[in-house]
């Protein structure tokens, strides 16, 4: 016979699976809607995709041939039908800019940006949380004041400005960090397996390359992370400050529980829930907004590819890029929701219909 706790655990598991299934179905519909929206928007914004594909010096005959090949001479719904048919066969079309299948481009560029923003997220989680916890715990102290100032500066300064400043000081003046690229220009890259330079280097047994690739991540990742450190730090600080005044914390103090235990065991868990939500959105946001930092650090990433294709009215690539960003938002939001369910028992109970 199962114990009540086992029964409860099973019920929670079932509820979670149902919830995840429902969210996945919803995501498919959202992405479908998004694809229609971006497909039509991309076609009505000014610009000639045939020119983008054939170059400025193309003749009218060449342009017309491309329009026919890309079905641009057909109505929008017919064009969408062709695109959707391709998608269902794993074909997102050919990029007018790179002249390669869009899927090939995505496979090349997405891992570079993912590696960068994962590292940036790691930095922002560690530093943002540390700053938020300390500022919240020692609220209205000098540290809280300094962290507030640093946060405002971090939020107000664009990432690319931070990138240029960091490169100037750490690469050009102090020669402490590498300036551009994922590894030094003259270093041989490991064979591509995952597209993550650090991971691929480790898989190839090139430990020194992995280490160097890590150092190359520091400046661009920190440039991207600054704004999120500031933002997430402030949110955590507010939650900590708010929860510190609650009765259950006072109760723990009265019982003589150690401060560190109160902070890390009882205070942090409920306090980081708003931060986790924001962190998820920040991660997806970085997928499309890292382009200036990628430009400064010569980072061959997805955000830069996205911008280039938009500027060149590369129809197939534009739609694919928006879908990837949409998919990232959907996946990350789902993960965040699952994480919050584990962090916050009240959410679990609500989802179970309790």
């Amino acid at each position: 016979m199962l114990s009540p706790s086992r029964v409860l655990e099973g019920a929670v598991k079932d509820t979670m699976l149902k919830y995840i299934g429902l969210r996945l179905v919803q995501s498919v519909f959202v992405l479908f809607g998004l694809s229609i929206l971006i497909f039509f928007i991309a076609r009505v914004v000014p610009g000639d995709p045939a020119r983008a594909m054939m170059g400025y010096l193309a003749t009218q005959d060449q342009l017309q041939a491309v329009r026919v090949e890309m079905h641009l001479d057909k109505s929008f719904p017919v064009q969408y039908y062709y695109w959707l048919r391709g998608l269902l066969h794993g074909d997102l079309g050919r990029s007018a800019y790179t002249k390669r299948p869009v899927v090939t481009d995505l496979v090349q560029y997405i891992p570079a940006t993912l590696e960068l923003i994962l590292f940036a997220t790691l930095i922002s989680v560690v530093l943002g949380q540390a700053m938020g916890i300390l500022a919240g715990y020692f609220r209205n102290s000098w540290f809280d004041g300094v962290s507030r100032l640093v946060s405002y500066l971090g939020i107000a300064t664009p990432s690319f400005v931070i990138a240029i400043l960091l490169m100037f000081f750490f690469s050009q003046v102090l020669h402490l960090a590498p300036s551009v690229g994922r590894i030094p220009i003259m270093m041989t890259a490991p064979p591509t397996v995952t597209g993550f330079m650090v991971l691929d280097s480790l898989l190839a047994g090139q430990f020194s390359t992995a280490l160097v690739a890590l150092t190359h991540l520091v400046l661009p990742a920190f440039s991207l992370a600054v704004i999120h450190i500031a933002q997430e730090g402030r949110i955590t600080r507010s939650s900590i400050a708010e929860n510190l005044g609650k009765d259950y914390i006072t109760m723990h103090r009265v019982h003589g529980i150690r401060t560190s235990r109160i902070v890390f065991k009882y205070l942090l868990r409920p306090s980081i829930i708003p931060t986790v939500t924001v962190m998820g959105l920040d991660f997806a946001f970085l997928m499309s907004n890292a382009f200036l930092v990628e430009l400064v650090f010569m980072w061959p990433g997805f955000a830069r590819y996205a911008l280039t294709t938009m500027l060149n009215k590369d129809l197939n690539a534009m739609v694919a890029v928006v879908l990837v960003i949409g998919l990232t938002f959907a996946v990350v939001n789902l993960l965040v929701d699952i994480l919050i369910t584990f962090l916050d028992p009240t959410v679990r109970i609500q989802r179970r219909g309790g």
Partner: protein, 548 residues
């Protein structure tokens, strides 16, 4: 305690990594040149068309004929050519013997004929001006081309035709219904491999990211050191790296992680910094023409006197200002470094408000100047184009004419120029000599009825029969000297209609380490000057400078 230990390990690892990075950046003197010349979009000669592509083509492949500084062509893969019959539709080319592909096989007429058939069938890249061409092998080293329409310029257009190795391409065809039996015609494979005869062989191509090349020792032109300094040796490896923000490029140029920059987008302070740096040099190879077209079909620039008033009112000296020290200066319909350049009105280019007022008084808008407005558009984000507009705004205000300056994004700006009705009064462009023959590009393509149209002809003026006749005559004249004479005759005739304001020419300045020498031959066209066979490296000087 555990946390402290973990932190110590992390700090130690980071320090180790930095140390290692410093170590790898201090290797021995290598015969490698890192060039900022990406993003190459495609390295397939049949689809390549962009500026960057052409730069890659001149390194990985060889054209059938080679451009000359005079704007004509000289033998290269072909040693001679002639028109067969008198109607300029049939051309015979005799090929150089002993030219090797990177694979080691000898190039023959079969490869050239196949490459031309492929080039035309794929209807892409620079094949447009050729029309329909049928290639026939006459013997191992002779090939005939039959055109669907007469062309005196056919040999010149082949400066952008780069033969590929037939067997290698055929061996790497992917199944596709795009080109019938030829599948994808090897398009995908050629995007990351080369099948050329050029001075450098592709060793790695990560599209849009980097292109690594190695010197082709058996290059048919050889690697003679004649004309070079005693320590200047051929470059063994050339690595083309991706495009970046110019602040970053400055950092890696000064840090000697990059040896040569060939896109020339430096800002004024950066150029001054490079000029002041003893280990860096600036080299000018070809110039771009800043051109402000005036729409002759829109009010008030439809009036010739009004347009002339603009030419006289513009303060050329102010807008060039400090850029003059870097070669920006007077230009015309073609750039001054091109053969047959003719200075056009107003020359010297100085502001003459009196003459501007006289012209304005002759225009049909003289009595209602307050009611007219000139709309000036430039490509959003290009500061120097905005500067031209703002200068014009200030100058025309002195004459009581309002100028509206706006910089829409490129896609919108380009779309505006699809027709005369939607083109603003004035549109600013930076035309680089990226097509060949360059004279034909700056004249026929930009002023003939059958020119390139769109942004290249956003003046929309095709009403002068004499100009049209002469432009057509340039394409019917097979003698380059006589053709050049027609180009010379055409320039003042076109200028007389005041179709464009030419604020200045903008030389493309290559910044490089002083141990890089070149180019040996400067050709006013994108591509040949960036052919690294035309450059050398001084390893002794590099060792001195880098302290290695």
């Amino acid at each position: 305690m555990r946390t402290a230990r973990f932190l110590c390990v992390m700090v130690a690892a980071f320090a180790l990594a930095i140390g290692f990075w410093c170590h790898v950046s201090l290797g021995a003197v290598e015969n490698v040149v890192v060039v900022n010349g990406q993003p190459t979009i495609t390295t397939d000669p049949a689809t390549a068309s962009d500026w960057y592509d052409t730069e890659a083509m001149y390194n990985l492949y060889s054209p059938l004929v080679y451009p000359t500084p005079e704007g004509s062509v000289r033998p290269h893969l072909a040693t001679s050519w002639q028109a067969v019959g008198g109607d300029l539709t049939h051309w015979r080319f005799v090929l150089r013997q002993g030219v090797k592909f990177h694979s080691g096989y000898e190039m023959t007429a079969d490869d050239v004929a196949f490459s031309m058939t492929r080039f035309i069938a794929m209807k892409s890249g620079n094949s447009g001006p050729l029309g329909k061409v049928t290639a026939t092998v006459i013997d191992k080293y002779t090939v005939d081309f039959v055109l669907d329409k007469p062309s005196a310029l056919f040999p010149e257009t082949l400066a952008l035709f780069f033969p590929v190795e037939k067997a290698l391409v055929l061996a790497n065809i992917k199944t596709s219904d795009k080109y019938g039996d030829f599948g994808d015609y090897g398009e995908d494979w050629l995007a990351t491999h080369d099948a050329g005869t050029g001075p450098y062989m592709m060793t790695l191509n990560v599209p849009g990211t980097r292109l690594d090349t190695a010197r082709f020792v058996d290059y048919f032109e050889g690697w003679s050191n004649e004309g070079w300094g005693p320590d200047e040796v051929p470059i063994d490896r050339v690595v083309f790296i991706m495009e970046a923000d110019y602040t970053s490029l400055m950092t890696i140029l000064k840090g000697r992680q990059m040896d040569l920059e060939i896109n020339g987008g430096w800002t004024l302070p950066q150029l001054r910094e490079i000029q002041a740096n003893k280990t860096l040099d600036l080299t000018s190879c070809w110039a771009q023409n800043v051109t402000v077209y005036m729409n002759t079909k829109a009010v008030p620039t439809d009036d010739e006197h009004f347009r002339k008033a603009i030419l006289y009112a513009f303060d050329y000296a102010s807008v060039v200002g400090p850029w003059q020290a870097f070669g920006n200066g007077p230009t015309g319909i073609i750039t001054p470094n091109m053969a047959g350049y003719v200075p056009i009105e107003p020359q010297p280019p100085v502001q003459n408000l009196v003459k501007a007022q006289q012209e304005l008084a002759l225009s049909k808008y003289a009595k209602n100047l307050k009611d007219v407005k000139v709309v000036y558009h430039f490509c959003g984000g290009l500061d120097f184009e905005e500067d031209v507009g703002l200068q014009l705004q200030a100058d025309m205000a002195k004459l009581g004419v309002k100028v509206e300056v706006a910089g829409p994004p490129w896609a919108q700006f380009g779309a505006e120029c699809n027709s005369a009705e939607t083109t603003p009064n004035m549109t600013c462009w930076l035309f680089a000599p990226q097509a060949f023959p360059t004279h034909d590009y700056y004249l026929f393509s930009m002023f003939a009825k059958k020119g390139l149209g769109w942004i290249f002809e956003s003046h929309w003026y095709f009403d002068d029969p004499q100009i049209e006749t002469l432009l057509n005559a340039t394409r019917a004249e097979a003698d380059p000297v006589k053709r050049l004479a027609i180009y010379t005759q055409l320039q003042p005739l076109i200028a007389a209609h005041a179709l464009a304001l030419y604020p200045y020419q903008k030389p493309t300045l290559f910044a490089h380490q002083s141990y890089i020498a070149g180019p040996k031959e400067s050709i006013p066209m994108v591509g040949p000057s960036e052919n690294m066979h035309n450059w050398r490296i001084n390893l002794t000087l590099k060792a001195q400078i880098t302290g290695q």
